[in-house]
């Protein structure tokens, strides 16, 4: 288990998440892509902390901050989805065009 292997796994998760966030039409599926990218970021942060930084406590703090970002993204994301659905009856990205041009 080397740092390279961990970072490659993290890159794969980030790549899949980017694909999902860019390609999905449904808002909730789009958010799953963002979550998957943050999953990869979390794994990379813990990998760096564990294998290259001799376990300095600040590395774990970075992972905790990443988790807080995840929670914020979920919460505000779902609140926005609900608000948009309530105003526009839209649950896919194509349903919102007012900011397009």
């Amino acid at each position: 288990m080397s740092i390279e292997a961990i970072l490659i796994v993290a890159s794969a998760l980030i790549g899949i998440g980017l694909y999902g966030a860019l390609s999905q039409q449904s808002f909730v599926m789009l958010m799953m892509g963002l979550e998957l990218m943050l999953n990869g970021v979390l794994l990379a942060a813990v990998g760096f902390w564990s294998l290259t930084a001799a376990g300095v406590p600040e590395g774990q703090l970075l992972a905790i901050v990443t988790m807080a970002v995840m929670a914020v993204e979920m919460s505000i994301g779902f609140a926005l989805v609900v608000a948009v659905y309530r105003k526009r009856q839209a649950d896919v990205t194509e349903g919102i065009t007012t900011l397009k041009h």
Partner: protein, 232 residues
């Protein structure tokens, strides 16, 4: 190859394969559980990486988060129960290319970089270190994260509450009485603001006109209240 390596490769394959299946399954609820599996695999890899607190916290947090996610999936589901094939994508080729470029680029950087090798010493009290750090030198960061989460809670409630800035915040709600069985305390929001009002107001959506077929004279949604369209 040691047992830890084997476990790492197995969990990695699990994390990536389940992560991919998230966007290839027909049911959105199943997608959220597949994402949960991916997160659990990553949490277990963290355990292998000598970060027990973070690993277990990830597993717990994601178990709860994906349950909430599944609930929202049911609310916004396109394709109940995944009975029909679902492929709801746009700019598909571009997205595939972007994902592949991100993976190949990051992996290439990983492979050409010389990383220092300085693993955690066995027996290092990492959880105690984390606790001392959180409530010691990095307390400001930790507390800022807490305040950020509080702001998130306030923001979510404001964004997702029924009225918010687009009408009276207490429209359609009745404050509880001060004595059991008494009159509602404070301002009475709307005549007949019981459950009928709630249902109709919701189903009417953006209709601005009062629908005469509801003979109660109390079918105003938020729009009706705003326009002062009262009828008794």
């Amino acid at each position: 190859m040691s047992g830890i390596d084997l476990a790492f490769y197995a969990l990695s394959i699990l994390a990536i394969a389940r992560g991919w299946r998230v966007f290839a399954t027909d049911s959105m609820v199943r997608a959220s559980f597949l994402l949960l599996l991916s997160f659990i695999a990553v949490g277990l890899i963290m355990l292998l990486l000598a970060a027990p607190y973070l690993g277990v916290a990830t597993v717990f947090m994601m178990a709860v988060e994906m349950m909430v996610m599944a609930l929202f999936m049911v609310m916004f589901m396109m394709n109940p129960a995944g009975l029909n094939p679902m492929m709801m994508v746009h700019q598909h080729r571009f997205s595939l290319a972007a994902g592949a470029v991100a993976f190949v680029g990051l992996a290439a950087i990983t492979l050409v970089t010389e990383f220092p090798v300085d693993p955690v010493a066995a027996g290092k009290p990492v959880i105690r270190d984390l606790g001392t750090e959180l409530l010691g030198n990095s307390m400001l960061i930790f507390e800022s994260a807490g305040v950020t989460l509080l702001a998130t809670m306030v923001g979510s409630v404001i964004l997702s509450s029924r009225s918010g800035r687009f009408g009276a915040a207490d429209a359609g709600s009745k404050p509880p009485p001060l004595v059991p069985g008494g009159e509602p305390a404070g301002r009475v929001p709307e005549e007949g603001g019981g459950h009928h009002h709630h249902d109709h107001g919701h189903s009417q959506g953006d209709e601005h006109q009062h629908n005469p077929s509801h003979g109660h004279g109390q079918t105003h949604g938020n729009d009706g209240q705003r326009g002062g369209c009262h009828e008794h």
